[in-house]
């Protein structure tokens, strides 16, 4: 019975191949861009809401930015009870050549090399050989894939960062490895001891990152440290990593809200395209519906048939659309596809293969929503009306 029903649905779709193809293509394109856009926003939101990062605290200067936490504070803070691991962070922004163009800007994160993977979210998949190489080589740099491709670098390449700091200084690095694609795609990591040597900045770090053994202890420690260092000069603030990220993300809230609005419009647009197409199809097949009713089909059967048609087109289009985007993303990340302006951001926000499954579900959902009205119109076809018109 189900098999026959499926055959009927397939045949109905196959009757007007052009319409099915156009509807499918419309939904496919929109689901593809939907997948890309939501991938960007969900990456940012995931970072803000990450529960796992409730145990990671950021210690920074309380009042001003860029923060300067005296290096002398580090032993006392990292020696606290409950601190499992820690690292320091200094940001070194600069240019990669004398043109000082915006597309030659780079940011270097200076930190401890030995626990790079454990202490920096987004580096969980870093190649252990690259970390080893950074430990071995003082002037080493593990560079993001976006930067590597933009500059045409290979491992072993030496480069100079014209640091935009006071006093200005040029720092030389050697590429020892590549970072995984993701949030650090256009940045690079280097060693703090080398930074101190090259810039003579031995007094302070921008922030201390500490990993605490539990969320409760993290809360307690954050409160204690905030109190202890409130009246010091400079005073410090302690917040969870996710709270810190949320504060920065809030500054781009206008952009995120616009993107959310666009996502909603994409969904509505998909529903409209599908609904319109199915409505036209239902109007053209009123005789067929009447015949089906004469043959004993119940209104529910007809409703289900229309919904199934829409869901099938939506799901397939969604699957293909997101699969294409995922494929492009993976080809970009693997380096098979050359880097252009249009696919550069895929290095920072790679679309995983699992998105194809979401695409299928979203497509099916769009099909379901878009077919409600046409299906209800199809189920109410009156046999007598249809045949009296023909007669």
């Amino acid at each position: 019975m189900l098999y026959k029903f499926a055959i009927l649905v397939m045949k109905s779709l196959g009757r007007n191949k052009l319409r099915t193809a156009l509807t499918g293509l419309g939904v496919m394109v929109l689901v593809a861009i939907y997948a890309v856009v939501t991938n960007v926003t969900s990456t940012v939101k995931k970072k803000v809401n990450a529960q796992g990062e409730q145990t990671r605290l950021i210690v920074s200067e309380r009042w001003t930015m860029p923060s300067r936490v005296p290096l002398r504070y580090v032993p006392a803070i990292t020696g606290q009870d409950g601190v499992k691991d820690w690292t320091t962070i200094n940001f070194l922004a600069g240019f990669l050549d004398e043109s000082r163009r915006r597309d030659r800007q780079a940011i270097c994160i200076v930190t401890r090399p030995d626990n790079l993977r454990e202490m920096h979210s987004g580096l969980e998949d870093i190649d252990p050989a690259a970390v080893e190489a950074l430990i071995d080589r003082k002037d080493g740099a593990i560079v993001g894939p976006g930067l590597m491709k933009t500059m045409g670098w290979q491992v072993g390449q030496r480069f100079t960062l014209l640091a935009a700091r006071f006093p200005p200084v040029d720092v030389q690095f050697t590429v020892v490895g590549t970072l995984p694609a993701g949030e650090w795609s256009n940045a690079f990591f280097a060693r703090h001891d080398y930074y101190m040597e090259a810039t003579n900045d031995r007094e302070a770090v921008n922030a201390i990152l500490i990993e605490i053994s539990g969320a409760e202890r993290a809360k307690e420690l954050a409160a204690n440290l905030s109190l202890d260092y409130e009246n010091r000069q400079p005073s410090l603030k302690v917040e969870t990593e996710s709270a810190g990220v949320a504060r920065f993300a809030a500054r781009g809230q206008a952009i995120l809200q616009i993107i959310d609005g666009v996502v909603l419009i994409l969904l509505i647009d998909m529903v409209i395209i599908l609904s319109n197409s199915i409505s036209i199809s239902v109007r053209e097949r009123r005789v067929e519906m009447a015949v089906l009713k004469v043959l004993g089909f119940q209104p529910l059967h007809i409703t289900l048939m229309i919904i199934a048609e829409a869901m099938l087109v939506g799901a397939l289009a969604g699957l293909v659309g997101t699969a294409i985007v995922s494929l492009l993303s993976q080809l970009t990340v693997s380096g098979t596809l050359p880097l252009y302006n249009w696919n550069k951001f895929l290095l920072q926000f790679p679309v995983p293969w699992s998105a194809a499954l979401w695409g299928l579900l979203i497509g099916a959902g769009v099909g379901l929503t878009g077919s409600v009205l046409p299906a209800s119109s199809a189920r109410s076809v009156k046999v007598s009306d249809v045949f009296s018109r023909i007669a």
């Binding site: 319409r19 700091r165 006093p167 500054r251 609005g261």
Partner: protein
Amino acid sequence: MIPLKYNARNLVVRWKTTLMTASGFTLVVAALVVMLAFVAGVEQVCTTSGELENVIVLAKGNNDEVFSQMDTRLAKELENFPGVARGSIGQPLASREMFLVVHRLLEQEGVFKFLQIRGVMPVAFEVHTGIDLIEGRPLRASQSEVIIGKGVQREHQLNVGDQVDIGRKKWTVAGVFTAGGSAFESEVWCDLTEVASQFRREGVYSSVVLRTESSESAFDLTERLKASRSIVCNPKTEPEYYAKQAEQMQMLSSATWTIAWFMGIGAIFGVMNTMFAAIGQRRKDIAVLRIMGFQAHEILISFLLEAILISIIGGGLGIALGAGINGFSRSTAVGGVREIEFAFRVTEGTVIFAAAFSLGMGVLGGLLPALSVVRIQPLEALR
């Protein structure tokens, strides 16, 4: 030619399909208008910030005031550099400034919010002539007073007489200013000496802004400073400096167009579907038209016009809907850590772009179905 009335009536008869297809256009165009209005709003703030006669000097190697630091010696050399305009009592019109991004603790919510502070001396108001006090009075030095930009007033819900915590100290809001919609409206201005002492930055400045007699003099001064061997710094005319801050909007602008193109392609498939269905339903009409003597190309144009009509209706509604955001104020981050208050701007250019985009979608979506009309054989269609 087939009268346009024929197409218009057909659209009315099939009003449900027309409405749905047009609403697809409406949403795409409305989204495009909003996205472009956002980009235009931010660009407007950045490009109108700064005065043509002013030169902003940062420390060498720095492109942003947030990271720039220069000492008193350099500031003095800049003040005395030939070409700097003089004030009423002969003092150089050079404003030493300290730009800081501070964390403001919102006691009730227990969260930190960013606040942009500019420490200035009285000469700053002769250098930045676009600052207009709209409420309250000017700030008094060494009295822990601030004046706030209109954007800060909105974003932080502050008014004249309110106390604002900056660091450990409480400052009183003495006035509210506008600055011609520029980035300054997102800042808090206070006494340079007082803020420097509070944050232990005495004798250190982020920038020195030099006033000149004209825009040509400003350009000339910039060039001479760049060429100077004795003064090592990074000079830029003020408009150039702020325009650079808007550069990152290019990425957003590209993203806007990419999303719009994809949405447009989706809508094109939608209109194709509608037009193919319309042609399918009206094969007999088309045959009659051919028999009546209308040429194939006339029928083609007629159907193309129908698609264009849908795009005009949908696009027009979309522009009207999107234009509703015009003037709506928000704040956003630009450059490194700078935050600006901006208003969405639906410009003439945006409207023209959106209209052309909508029309383009209509033409592309209607062309293929219209071409298929040519292949219809009248006798076969009438059978």
